[in-house]
């Protein structure tokens, strides 16, 4: 079966994290902590999802005084539908035994 564009484990982990709080704006460091992804994986994934129109980004003022504004991300309506679809799809199948794992 051909691999779909957003079928990597990291992407699905990120989508799952976003869809847990779909209305909330999330920050890079917070997402890295929550998903366990390194920034070198996280940011290219965010960029790809943004390019596909699944994520929106905006600058938001920091809560602490004197701190710079932060770049925040959240799912677009299309992104939310996509994340829900992905959550229902099997993430890995073993050719040998035909076992399938489903993202919780």
């Amino acid at each position: 079966m051909p691999r779909t564009v957003n079928s990597s484990r990291q992407t699905r982990l990120l989508l799952s994290e976003f869809s847990a709080q779909p209305q909330a704006w999330r920050y890079g460091y917070e997402l890295a902590k929550a998903t366990g992804l390194k920034s070198g994986t996280l940011y290219p994934t965010l960029a790809r999802l943004s390019d596909q129109g699944l994520l929106e980004a905006e600058w938001r003022a920091a809560l602490e005084l004197g701190r710079p504004a932060r770049h925040a991300y959240r799912l677009t309506p299309a992104g939310l539908i996509f994340a829900k679809e992905q959550a229902l799809r099997p993430i890995r199948s073993s050719r040998k035994h035909g076992n399938q794992e489903v993202l919780a």
Binding site: Y27, S39, Y43, R70
Partner: protein, 186 residues
């Protein structure tokens, strides 16, 4: 400010420089985020930013062109320098034909180095075609009996053959990189 944070900021500055224009907004977001990262995580976070920037750099048209131009600059500059150093070493002992040939080749590579920086890959491909034509003429001239009698004629013939290979490589890299960049833009 801790040493770790200073180092992380330096790494992020390099990442921002390497990030192509179309990803600058995201790169600014990564760098701003560094102020909110704990000291212990700062260097790892910055290295990840640099990794992302390099990835973007290598998959955009401008990045590919800049990489190839830099590689051609370094390779042709090194060959030009090597040729000139050989000329300096052989001066006095080598035949005039060998010395002039090596000097011409060194100047040719120096030209390729300058052109790769100054005019880009299109001009460089044209330069490689002209070089191939000149090299073919030199190769044909080397078939004369007078040349056979010259000291170092075997070396010069080998040099001409090697030049053919390098010029074809230069042309291929120039055309290939432009094709790849066009695909990435499209």
């Amino acid at each position: 400010m801790t040493l770790r944070r200073k180092l992380a900021q330096r790494i992020c500055a390099v990442a921002a420089y390497a990030t192509p224009m179309e990803r600058q907004s995201l790169a600014r977001g990564m760098i701003a985020e560094l102020d909110h990262v704990k000291d212990d995580d700062a260097v790892g976070f910055a290295l990840g930013c640099l990794w992302s920037a390099i990835g973007w750099f290598l998959t955009t048209a401008d990045g590919v062109i800049r990489c190839v131009r830099m590689a051609i600059l370094l390779a042709s500059g090194a060959l030009a320098l090597l040729g000139l150093l050989t000329v300096a070493k052989l001066r006095g002992s080598g035949s005039p034909l060998t010395l002039w040939s090596l000097t011409a080749i060194s100047v040719f590579y120096a030209g390729a180095a300058v052109l790769s920086v100054w005019r880009g890959l299109g001009a460089l491909s044209l330069y490689a075609i002209v070089g191939l034509a000149l090299n073919t003429m030199a190769f044909l001239a080397q078939r004369s009996p007078a040349f056979e009698a010259e000291p170092g004629s075997v070396f010069l013939r080998a040099l001409a053959i090697e030049q053919f290979g390098l010029l074809i490589l230069l042309l291929g890299v120039g055309i290939g990189a432009r094709g790849l960049a066009a695909r990435l833009r499209g």
